[in-house]
Structures are given as structure tokens and as C-alpha cells.
Amino acid sequence: MKNENDADKQDRESREQETSGGLTRRGFLTTMGVGAVTLAVADKLYATPAAEAEMIERGKLTKVELSINGRKYRLLVEPRWSLLYVLREGLGLTGTKVGCERGECGACTVLINDVPRYACMTLAVEAEGSRITTLEGLMKGDALGPVQKAFAEKDAFQCGYCTPGQIMAVEGLLRRNPAPSDEDIRRGMSGNLCRCGTYKNIIHAAKRAAELKKA
């Protein structure tokens, strides 16, 4: 894995202990818990800003450079905009879906440095310097990638709205663990909800995708 900074590495290693690759609900919440504490502290600090600290006005745009699907985008964003919002509404990369905007459903799952992350809980500015992969990034031109092919073949969706997130979660899982067991898949995919209830077929698709990737 290239371009991985220390924080990413630490993050990845903690996740590897937690799961065999994907994003579990529990693992995610632990991370978020830490985030919430940090935020609360930061909030207090900002209540009385140090002289040199810059207060950003609401609505003011800031420059950010994002690396998405191997391409660099120089963008102006509000610091509070989520990566999800920027992908969908700013760049038209609507393969990434919006389900809850609070880190509960996984419809917005993207890979950040190969690790499945919820784009709704990631600020765009926070994603600077990371490699972001969205559903569109799994395509080779017009051709489906192996995980996408497996989902189509195994009928691993119904309405298809959670599907991009499910596909990204499987992609992330397989990048970490090329031959997952059923249990690895169930744990790795438990952070992605499907209201149509196609979980059984998603397990089949994940296994099929592992085969297709090997071939």
C-alpha cells in the first residue's frame, strides 16, 4: 500500500484487529466515540480562540485538493461539507448514495486508502491527501469490475440503492482479505444496511467476487 501515512496505518491496523477487513458497526462506533470526544474538547478551545487561530465564517469556501479514482480535483468547499455532499452534489459522482448522513447505514461507503469509510461522516477537507475510491472507480471504462459483476450475477440487490455501498464494502474487504470466510463476510459487511433484505445474496456475491478477483 503506497502513500499511506502514519495515521492511516494506525487506523488500518486497529481495524485489522477489529475485523478481518470491512467496517463493523462496533468498530465504526469506537472510532466515532473518540472523534466525538475530540470534537467536544475542540469546541471548548474554539470558544475562546487563540489570537492566531483562524475562525472560518459560515459560507466561506476553502481550497481543497482531493484525489478521487486516480484523478486530482481542486475544489472550493465549505469546511463543514461532507465528502458525500461534495462527491454527489459537487462532482456528480452519484454512484455514492445518501442514506442517513449519520454513519448508520453505509450507503455512502467509499474507500479511503483502501479502507471502507462512510463518506457522510468524513469531511471533504479531512479527505485531502488520501486516495478516495468510489463505485465509479471500480469500473474499467464501461466494463464492470469483479465485485460489480458478482453482484449482478448473484442478484445481490433489489432496489439497488444500498448496493454501491455494499459493493465498496466488499471491495474493501477483499483488498484486505482476498479469501474471506462466510463469517468474515458477515462481520465485514455488518456496517451496511439493506432494507430490501438481500444479505444472503450479498454473501454469495462476495464469495463470487473473491473468485473473480483471483482469476
Binding site: 455532499y85 463505485l135 444496511l193 454473501i203
Partner: protein
């Protein structure tokens, strides 16, 4: 069409056009070469590549974003709205509320009950108070959050069980009762007197929320006086009718498009207030407006499966014959009339042979979001009561629960006037084949011999069901076009809500016209360009549309054969289409490819129109089901693990085995949620507000909660009388018996009868503790 079918929920309060009679002389398929095979979806590429444009994916360069300010109280009067600060904010382009002249319009919660779009009295938490449109979604939320509203908070009623008590808070002036319905046949007193065992029990289900993955909402865009709406909906024509009615526009000026949509489960059968609000904001700003609800709003304001309390008394003879069923149920529509007890008693009335039945259902108001139809309205709740009662009766007379059900399989619909027969009923076959495939008797025996000293116990359970509709019906019109190169266009108004409608229709065309499904273009769910269809609900899309599509394809085929006969210099009755070739029956050396037909080349296209014929007179078309499961219950922690699940469904002909099984697993998964984790929690004693308005606190099943060993066993018996395709509905019957089957398995494992949903660990631990005392 029969009157009662017109009144079913998926077609309620919308004008239904009639379609002409279809062509006669068409027979059901005997054998099929494409239909029934496991075909991956024709739109799979679009859905897995991200190319499919869902309504929430629409982005216009000059589009604004809208957000709604909703009442934070369960019951309050709006005294004043101050939006000055919001209007002055950066990026804000419009704010509307009750005082905005163009928003002074009526919203029909029901035909009889209309309120202002921004009502002064908010009868539920989440009622609309104001809305804003801004350059970014963040600015729109900033704007609505800065609107200052003065409320007079009123006492709220949040428990439907107390709605009719004296002193209960009044949701509407004039009492909290919506209505009471009664039904009676035979003499229940006599029936109970004849019984060898009589049992009585109260059951309750908590309100369940739809929460489809794609949020409710739309993009609204005006071109002068024409309005186009891209809406996440199950029925574009239903949305069109409602929007035209509320905004007083001609139907021709309202175009609703919903090619893809991310799930609905009944909550997207109708237009939502937010669509009207989007249209108003778009008009006011002369810009396209994107209006999608937040996830929290979808928990509060766009429907639910009503909570209900059901008392059931049942009598049975030693030989297993039911003698009497007496049912009374109270359910809640929420704050406005919305079918709070819709079909709640149907299974008690119709599932089993029983001469003496009396039911009474009372729908009441509470200060909570109005209900909407939710996957088989009333049925999973009714099954929760009836199917647990059957289990208890079986135990009381020492009979196997499958055996007891088999004793009471009816051939006619007893609940309907004149007891019409079912065209087909697979109830007996579902139970018998299911019991065999599951190893029911062996499993019961094995569990009876298990060591009961440990705290982890196994049990098996069964439940069955039928779905009141699922036969499909007119109206439906479909157009099929055959192009000169042999490729085909299908034009159909129905939505594919994720059930595989498009794929099934492609298979029907492939069956009749020999065209490969990938050579098909499908236009659908667009009021501007496709034919009228009722919303995709009621498990009626396949049985309604597939015969219609077949009729259209047959019309094309007939015209094609006539043209080919000219080329082959024979009569049209002497030619037949096989694959992509037409040949003479009397002289098989005479043949011609579709693409070689002179008449087709000249015309460039053959157009066929199909109409949905009526259902058989005096008969009932219903799907049936029996489901079996094995659970492991931890009596120390209250956790229930589902080890295996078998769903046996009689839905007539299996159209696509792949989507059939998928739909079955999905219904079972949803039923597992209803059984184990899902339930709305209102702060009953204080604020009346909803406590678990997100997916963290309101838990849907995840991949960890469904068994790996989940099997779909279709009966696959085509129903030739039902319609030209022989198919019955599937989407709803698959979720009807699930929760009851799990509850019966929990009882089998622990000896504790759980009568309330959800069977959460907390509830179970309490019950197990009580049972030990």
C-alpha cells in the same frame, strides 16, 4: 372489476381509468422456455455501475436545495413564525410558511380531512411548519433552523390503548375514534360451547417504520406552467394525480418520472407534502429545487405500520377442527385517518376453516405520524396473533401445529360474500412440502429430547398465511414495439421498486417474440411518455403487468405472422414463430427470419397494445405461504439467534427464479426485524416525542441477524384461471407469517409465550425471569 378490489389500499383515493377488454382466445402458457428461469436483472448493469439515475441523484446546474422545518412537539399550535433572519441569510432564495400567500393551500390527509399545507395545529411531531430553499443543502438547513416559531404546546396522546379513556388528550375535536368495523358469521357462542378447548390471549405489535434506503423526496422543475417532478415513488401516476389536484393543475401539466427508486415498502405509494412544498419553492424561485427528507424525518412523517392491540379467543375440538374465533383489535392511524386497523382481522376471517367468526376493529387517533400501507397491511400483525394462537391450540389438544393447520385448510374464501372459491390454494402444499423439506417432525422430536438444563435452548416454529390481494387487476395498458432489426421496445407505466418488474416483463416478451432480453429497451414509470399503471403495491405488479405485456407482445406477434405469411405465400394461421424465425406449418421448408419480413422492413415498426383483462368472475386469486424456522434462545441474555429458515410460497407461476428467491429472502429478513428488533418508541408519559428516530436506536436486521441457512421453496404451480401469465403476487405474502413463526419457535425453545413485538433481549429477559418465579 369488483368494487372491493378497487378499494384496496394501493388504489385508494386515486382515480382509476378503465382499460378496454383484451383480445380473446389467448391461453395460459403450457410450457415456457424463458419464463421461470433464473435470469439476472436486465437493469443490473445500471444498478451496480452507478449509472442508474435515482431521483435523489438528479443534479441541475442551477438547482436549489430545500429543507423543511417540522414541529418538534407531538401536539402544538403554531402561534407565530418569524423567518426574517432566515430570509436574510447568505444563499437563501425563498422561505415559505403558513403566512406565504402561495402556500395557502389545502393538503388532503384523507378525502374527508384536509388541513392547510402548513397547518396551524400540529397534531404530530414532524408536521410541516415552514420550508426554505437555498444554494446549498447546508444553507437550507441553516435557514430553517434560524426560523423562530412560537408554539402553544398541547397535551399529547401517544398510546393508542388509552385513546378512548376519559380524560385522554384529544387529537381532533370530536373524539379520538376514527371508526369501528365489525364482521360476523355463524354464532361464536355456539362455537365456543362446542369446543373441547377454548383459549384467549392478548397480543400487541409495536409500530414498525418503513425506512427505505433512498430518502423520500423529489426534484421539482418548472418550465413556464409545466411542472416536472423526479420522485422516488412506487407510482408516478398516483403522484401526478395528487399534485395536479392540490396545485389545481391539468394532468397534462404535471409530469412525474421515477425510473429508479430506492425502496418504498408502501410508504411511497402516494405523493407527500414535501413534493408540493418543492413545487412551490421551485415556482417562487424560478429554479429547480431538490427536496429530500433527512433520515430523521422519514422516521416521523412518512408513514408506519400502525401499532395494534389484539384480543383473540379461539375454540377447537379434539380432532383439530376450529369451532369459533372471536377477535377484537385496536390500532392507530396516527394523527389523521390512515387505515390504522386496515385488514388487521383479515387472517382471522379468512385463513382457516371456521364456521363461527366475529371480529371488531377500532381505529383511533394518537399524536403521531399518520400510518401508510406497509408491506401487507394488517397481515403480519394478524398473523402475530392468529398464528401464535394456533400454536397454543395445538398444544392444548396435543396435536402437531402443522397437523392442526392442515385440518383447517379452506377451499373457499369464507370472509367474502357467497364464499367464492380460490382459483388455486397452495396452503396445504406449502405446509406439507415445507414440513418435509424442513424435517419438521424430526426436529420437534430431537428438541423434545434436548437437555433443558442449560441456558441455551433450541426450538422450531411454523406459521402460515395468505395475502388478501395479490391477484392483480385492471387497469393496465402496455405498448410493445418490434423494430425492423428484431429488437423491441417495451412501454409500461409501472415502477420497478426493486422486485424485478422490468426483468420479468422482459422475460415475458422474450417468451413470446423470441427476442433476447438484452435486445430490449424498457421505458417505464413516466407519466409523460408511458401508459397508465396503478402504483406498484399490493403484490399485484407482476400479476397485473405480465398478462398485459404478454397481450401486447401477442398483438405484435399476430401482426408479424400476418406479414410473414404474405412473404411465405401462405395463410397467417399456417405460420408460427420459433426463436427469431417464422415458418410454415404445412411446409417447414418455407421459413423467414423476423428481420427478413418485407412488411416489417417497409413499416419499420410493429406496434402492439395490450390491455389487462378482468379477473375470473366469482373466484378469488390469493397467494399462500407457510414458513418454518429454528431458533436458539439464550435465556440468560434474551438473545434470539435464528439458525435456519424455510419459506414455502405459493405465488402461482415462478416468473424468474432468481428474483423470486431474492424477494422471499427479503420478506423473511424484514419479518425477522419485525419480530426481534423493530418498534417505534414514543415518550409516552411525558413529551410524546419519538425516542428512536434513527437507525442506531431503531435497529434493522443486519447481515449478522439473518441465518446463512435460509431456503426459498416455491410451490410453482401456475394459476391458469388467474391471468394470462399464471402468476400471483409475492412481495407481501413472504413477510406475513415470519414474525409469528419466530415467536412460535421461541415458545418451543423456552416455554415462554411472547405476545408483544419486538422480542428484544430486554423484554425476553424480563419474561424469562417472571417465568422462573
Amino acid at each position: 372489476m369488483k368494487k372491493n378490489e378497487r378499494e384496496l389500499y394501493f388504489a385508494q383515493n386515486i382515480p382509476l381509468p378503465e382499460t378496454p377488454k383484451p383480445a380473446e382466445g389467448v391461453r395460459p402458457w403450457q410450457t415456457t422456455t424463458v419464463v421461470g428461469k433464473p435470469l439476472p436483472r436486465v437493469d443490473a448493469y445500471e444498478r451496480v455501475s452507478g449509472k442508474a439515475v435515482y431521483p435523489s441523484d438528479i443534479v441541475f446546474p442551477d438547482m436549489l436545495y430545500a429543507a423543511i422545518l417540522r414541529c418538534p412537539h407531538a401536539h402544538a399550535v403554531v402561534k407565530g413564525v418569524d423567518a426574517k433572519a432566515a430570509e436574510a441569510m447568505t444563499g437563501v432564495r425563498a422561505v415559505i410558511s403558513a403566512t406565504t400567500p402561495e402556500a395557502d393551500i389545502l393538503w388532503p390527509y384523507s378525502p374527508e380531512m384536509k388541513t392547510k399545507l402548513f397547518a396551524s395545529r400540529c397534531r404530530f411531531e414532524g408536521e410541516t411548519v415552514a420550508a426554505a430553499a437555498a444554494e446549498t443543502l447546508y444553507q437550507a438547513w441553516d435557514a430553517v433552523r434560524s426560523i423562530r416559531v412560537t408554539y402553544d404546546i398541547l397535551p399529547a396522546l401517544s398510546d393508542e390503548r388509552r385513546a378512548l379513556e376519559s380524560g385522554a388528550a384529544q387529537v381532533h375535536n370530536g373524539g379520538n375514534k376514527v371508526k369501528t368495523d365489525t364482521y360476523e358469521r355463524g354464532d361464536v357462542a355456539k362455537g365456543f360451547a362446542e369446543a373441547d378447548a377454548v383459549l384467549e390471549q392478548t397480543y400487541r405489535n409495536e409500530s414498525e417504520l418503513h425506512t427505505p434506503m433512498e430518502l423520500h423526496g423529489c426534484v421539482a422543475k418548472w418550465d413556464g406552467d409545466s411542472l416536472t417532478i423526479w420522485e422516488s415513488t412506487q407510482g408516478v401516476f398516483a403522484v401526478q394525480a395528487r399534485v395536479a389536484e392540490v396545485l389545481r393543475l391539468p394532468l397534462s401539466k404535471v409530469r412525474v418520472i421515477g425510473h429508479y427508486m430506492g425502496g418504498g415498502f408502501g410508504s411511497k405509494l402516494q405523493a407527500d407534502k414535501s413534493t408540493i412544498i418543492a413545487a412551490l419553492l421551485a415556482k417562487k424561485t424560478a429554479r429547480p429545487v431538490k427536496m429530500f427528507l433527512s433520515r430523521e424525518e422519514t422516521f416521523l412523517a412518512v408513514g408506519n405500520r400502525p401499532p395494534s392491540t389484539m384480543r383473540l379467543k379461539a375454540g377447537v375440538k379434539k380432532d383439530g377442527m376450529l369451532t369459533a374465533l372471536e377477535f377484537s383489535g385496536t390500532g392507530s392511524s396516527g394523527a389523521y385517518p390512515a387505515g390504522g386497523t386496515s385488514l388487521l382481522d383479515w387472517l382471522v376471517r379468512d385463513l382457516y376453516l371456521c364456521p363461527n367468526v366475529r371480529t371488531e376493529t377500532t381505529d383511533v387517533y394518537i399524536n403521531a405520524g399518520p400510518a401508510r400501507p406497509f408491506r401487507a397491511p394488517g397481515h403480519p400483525q394478524g398473523a402475530w396473533a392468529l398464528e401464535q394462537m394456533l400454536d397454543s391450540l395445538a398444544e392444548a389438544i396435543k396435536m402437531d401445529p402443522v397437523e392442526l393447520r392442515l385440518k383447517n385448510v379452506p377451499a373457499v374464501s369464507q370472509a367474502r360474500p357467497n364464499n367464492p372459491p380460490y382459483t388455486t390454494t397452495g396452503l396445504q402444499e406449502c405446509l406439507e412440502r415445507g414440513a418435509q423439506a424442513f424435517g419438521w417432525r424430526e426436529a420437534r422430536k430431537q428438541i423434545a429430547e434436548q437437555n433443558r438444563s442449560g441456558h441455551v435452548r433450541r426450538g422450531v416454529g411454523v406459521a402460515s398465511g395468505l395475502w388478501v390481494a395479490g391477484g392483480g387487476n385492471p387497469p393496465s395498458t402496455v405498448i410493445v414495439k418490434l423494430f425492423s432489426d428484431g429488437s423491441v421496445n417495451l412501454n409500461m407505466g409501472a415502477s420497478d421498486i426493486g422486485t424485478g418488474t422490468k426483468t420479468v416483463m422482459a422475460m415475458v416478451i422474450a417468451e413470446e417474440l423470441g427476442v433476447k432480453p438484452e435486445m430490449l429497451q424498457i421505458e417505464h414509470a413516466d407519466t409523460g411518455t408511458t401508459q397508465y399503471a396503478t402504483p406498484s403495491g399490493g403484490s399485484k405488479t407482476v400479476p397485473t403487468e405480465s398478462p398485459t405485456v404478454r397481450a401486447a407482445a401477442l398483438s405484435v406477434k399476430q401482426q408479424l405472422l400476418e406479414l410473414a405469411a404474405e412473404d411465405l405465400k401462405t395463410s397467417p394461421s399456417d405460420v408460427a414463430l420459433t426463436g427469431d424465425e417464422i415458418s410454415s406449418l404445412s411446409d417447414t421448408s418455407k421459413k423467414i427470419k423476423i428481420t427478413g419480413v418485407t412488411g416489417l422492413k417497409k413499416r419499420g415498426v410493429i406496434v402492439g397494445i395490450g390491455y389487462r383483462g378482468p379477473n375470473p368472475e366469482g373466484k378469488v386469486v390469493n397467494p399462500f405461504a407457510a414458513q418454518f424456522c429454528e431458533v436458539e434462545v439464550n435465556t440468560a441474555t434474551g438473545e434470539v439467534r435464528i439458525i435456519r429458515f424455510l419459506a414455502v410460497q405459493d405465488s402461482g407461476r415462478v416468473m424468474d427464479r432468481l428474483t423470486f428467491d431474492n424477494q422471499t429472502f427479503g420478506g423473511v429478513t424484514m419479518g425477522i426485524g419485525f419480530a426481534l428488533t423493530e418498534g417505534r418508541v414514543l415518550d409516552r408519559n411525558q413529551t410524546g416525542k419519538m425516542v428512536n428516530r434513527n437507525w442506531h436506536d431503531y435497529k434493522l436486521p443486519t447481515m449478522l441477524d439473518v441465518p446463512a441457512d435460509m431456503v426459498s421453496l416455491p410451490i410453482d404451480r401456475p394459476d391458469p384461471e388467474a391471468n394470462l401469465a399464471g402468476a400471483k403476487g409475492l412481495g407481501e405474502p413472504v413477510t406475513i407469517p415470519t414474525a409469528a413463526a419466530v415467536a412460535n419457535a421461541v415458545y418451543h425453545a423456552t416455554g415462554v409465550r411472547v405476545t408483544e413485538t419486538p422480542m428484544s433481549p430486554m423484554r425476553l429477559v424480563q419474561l424469562f425471569t417472571q417465568a422462573r418465579k
